[in-house]
């Protein structure tokens, strides 16, 4: 069982380090952590997947909240949330294998984004389970290289992770 936390953080130097340092210091086990921009300048968004069998997700949440640069934390696990992972998978593919890999990619609504004499890069987006299934199918061809972004999540419907009314959290310059 895992828990998905969404944290809004101030986009300041060292914030990712503070979050990572907190997990290390408190001995929290984390499955994945993604960071990216939001629609509000100066605010970044982290999606943190906690291994809840080994780590109390609530303690992660309240400890994150203690960091001065963390604006809000929400455990979206009980909500109906859209969760997505993105993978780029480089698969061994000679001329004979290409058609079958293409077919698998179609079924998973992925895309082939690069082709060479001996390999393909497949791009696929979906839940982690979906991507795991696709990897199982591609494994027999020989996976050369793979990268996954880790989970990002958003609650369905009107409900949203509290933002800051569009205010930008920035240092005021005194001059």
């Amino acid at each position: 069982m895992d828990h998905t936390l969404v944290a809004l953080v101030e986009d300041k130097p060292g914030v990712l380090n503070r979050v990572a340092s907190l997990f290390r210091r408190r001995n929290f086990n984390i499955e994945s952590l993604t960071v990216g921009h939001t629609s509000v300048p100066g605010v970044s968004r982290m999606t943190i997947v906690v291994d809840a069998d080994r780590t109390n997700a609530h303690l992660v949440e309240v400890n994150l909240n203690k960091l001065v640069n963390v604006i809000s934390v929400q455990d979206v696990t009980p909500d109906r949330a859209v969760t997505r992972d993105l993978a780029l998978i480089k698969v061994k593919a000679d001329a004979t294998a290409r058609a079958e890999i293409n077919q698998i990619t179609q079924i998973f609504r992925g895309k082939i984004v690069d082709v060479s004499q001996t390999s393909l890069i497949v791009e696929v987006t979906g839940t982690e389970e979906k991507i795991d299934s696709m990897i199982d199918l591609l494994n027999p061809f020989g996976i050369v290289e793979m990268v996954r972004t880790g989970r990002v999540a958003m609650v369905r419907g009107e409900k949203s992770v509290p933002t800051m009314n569009g205010r930008r959290p920035a240092l005021k310059s005194v001059s």
């Binding site: 101030e10 130097p13 909240n65 800051m164 005194v174």
Partner: protein, 571 residues
């Protein structure tokens, strides 16, 4: 007005109401020290080691509730602060540390005396800043003081590049509201929480308050007293909570935990409701978590949400400022007859009294407990005492009965040997009209005794009582109990502390007989400036009672009663 970064630091400190700074100069902080000469509002205390400066700032903060300020240069200056910062972090002491840093152009290049100080102090500060632009400086200082003193207080570090101290800008003090979208300390409890708590309290037959440091930080002493008196609810203290209720108050039982009163631990294990007020269920107060207070419901009122359910699962956790929450609860607490419970505790207490060394016949040995009890008597129980870490620290907690808040300072969480003496110096700067005693061990004192020079240079009127047993006594005690009396590296060959003090210019006495304690204490009190007494005490003494680490809280090793043999007594 045009100001350099260095001047801005002092302009801001003046506006924060800072009166004293403890520090040590060096290359990367030199512009700031140079600018200090233009400002009269501040008194700088030159420590002899940055760790001493940090403990002084901490001691100042603990006696005043104000933010203590320490200052050091980059690299080794900053790393020497680290133990002091970690000490303040564990005990939630408000502090702002300024460190110089190499110029922005040299950052990351392993320049002379460069250390990644914000990296080093990341896990031991409440927050920290690296300043690389002089235009950010004033705002950061204002934010740092706010973060240090509000919510659950703690140390904040500001690392300032040397070229930022030199650079000039148009200085306007930032008067506008701070923009801290992720920082909002809690205040009151919700009506539902108040109702649930009240129901649990009024329905309880054997309630007990566990009153911690949070009572003091929140300023909830009066509210705690009211709560106890209204509801006939007995109160016990954590080590750092001592002073949050007068020791002589009829509802105050005293200290809990590893070296707490046996009857307090028995009461904890027998209670049907524990009320944890501003404390964090440290392993030193719980013992074995699996068997801790098995029959009780628990209410935890705490400003730091991450402390609730961290160590001990509770039935009701209220995140709030203790003073505000108790003001909500007190009018609803009913006066219940709890005489059966209080009588039971009285009986346990009587057993403790029969074992107390103070009531046992003296055999001519000078014991640490005697010395501290006598200091208590001859200072009328009214001094600020600052203890170090070890056996004497526990005897202080047991035998110096504090009637007033903020009169016991000690490193409870980190257990920092070397804290006591410099923290006492800082405390005296915070409360110049109070009598201040540093009660230290011979081991810990030697970790920071260089601050004798600071005490002399500043003519600080602080008395030092060394409880000298020529051992690392608490470690020796563990070796005696748990390591089959193999005393690995605990015997100490000490300097002559009287001569050492005199070399620094500090008058000093040695005392090895009980009958000489009173005169020595009186002489120390009558002497202006620092005074040192080397109390040579029994070497193999033990702090009783003791809950062995990880044992059940009521499985204490007790002091033998006069009629029983020492070896076999456990209760």
């Amino acid at each position: 007005m045009r100001r350099s970064g260095a001047q801005i630091i002092w302009e801001c400190l003046e506006r924060e109401g800072v009166e004293v700074v403890f520090g040590y100069p060096g290359g990367a902080i030199l512009p700031t020290y140079d600018a200090m000469t233009q400002y009269d509002f501040v008194h700088h205390v030159l420590a002899r080691h940055e760790q001493g400066a940090a403990h002084m700032a901490d001691g100042y903060a603990r006696t005043t509730g104000k933010v203590g300020v320490a200052m050091a240069t980059s690299g080794p200056g900053a790393t020497n602060l680290v133990t002091g910062i970690a000490t303040a972090m564990m005990d939630s002491s408000p502090m702002v540390c300024f460190t110089g840093q190499v110029p922005t152009t040299a950052l990351g290049g392993d320049a002379f005396q460069e250390t990644d100080v914000t990296g080093v102090t990341l896990p031991i500060t409440k927050h920290n800043y690296l300043v690389t632009d002089v235009d950010d400086l004033a705002y950061i200082i204002r934010e740092a003081f706010h973060v240090a003193r509000t919510g659950r207080p703690g140390p904040v570090l500001i690392d300032i590049c040397k070229d930022v101290q030199v650079a000039e800008t148009d200085f306007v003090y930032p008067e506008e509201d701070l923009e801290l979208p992720g920082y909002a300390p809690p205040s009151e409890a919700s009506p539902e929480e108040v109702q649930r708590a009240t129901e649990m309290i009024n329905a309880s037959e054997r309630p007990l308050v566990l009153a911690g440091h949070g009572v003091l930080m929140s300023g909830a002493m009066q509210e705690l007293r009211e709560f106890a008196e209204r509801g006939n609810v007995p109160v016990s203290q954590t080590l750092l909570g001592i002073g949050n209720m007068p020791a002589s108050h009829r509802m105050n039982l005293g200290m809990m935990g590893m070296h707490g009163e046996a009857y307090v631990n028995q009461a904890i294990q027998s209670a049907d409701l524990l009320l944890a007020f501003g404390m964090r269920f440290d392993d030193r107060v719980t013992g074995n978590l699996q068997t801790y207070a098995p029959d009780s419901k628990k209410i935890h009122i705490e400003i730091d949400a991450s402390e609730i359910n961290k160590n001990v699962p509770v039935d009701l956790g209220i995140v709030g400022d203790l003073k505000a929450v108790l003001q909500q609860l007190n009018p609803l607490v009913e006066s219940c007859d709890r005489s059966t419970w209080l009588t039971q505790i009285d009986e346990w207490q009587a057993d403790t009294r029969s074992r107390d060394i103070i009531y046992q016949e003296a055999n001519g040995e000078l014991l640490g407990a005697h010395v501290i009890r006598d200091i208590w008597e001859y200072t009328n129980g009214d001094a600020i005492t600052v203890s170090d870490v070890g056996q004497h620290q526990m005897w202080e907690a047991q035998y110096y009965h504090h009637e007033r808040p903020f009169t016991l300072l000690t490193s409870g969480g980190l257990g920092t040997m070397g804290f006591g003496f410099p923290a006492a110096v800082g405390a005296k700067f915070g409360q110049p009209d109070e009598e201040v005693w540093a009660i230290v061990g011979d081991g810990g004192f030697q970790m920071t005794n260089q601050e004798l020079a600071t005490a002399v240079q500043e003519n600080v009127d602080v008395n030092i009582a060394i409880i000298n047993n020529a051992y690392l006594g608490m470690v020796r005690q563990w070796q005696e109990f748990f390591y089959e009396e193999r005393y690995a590296e605990t015997p100490l060959v000490n300097p002559d502390f009287v001569k050492l003090a005199e070399a620094y210019g500090v008058p000093a006495l040695r005392v090895d007989r009980r009958e000489d304690v009173e005169a020595a204490v009186r002489q120390a009190r009558e002497t202006a400036g620092p005074f040192l007494i080397d109390f040579v005490v029994e070497k193999a003494d033990i702090v009783y009672p003791m809950v062995p680490s990880g044992a059940d809280l009521d499985k204490m090793i007790r002091r033998p009663t006069p009629s029983t043999s020492p070896a076999s007594v456990r209760s």
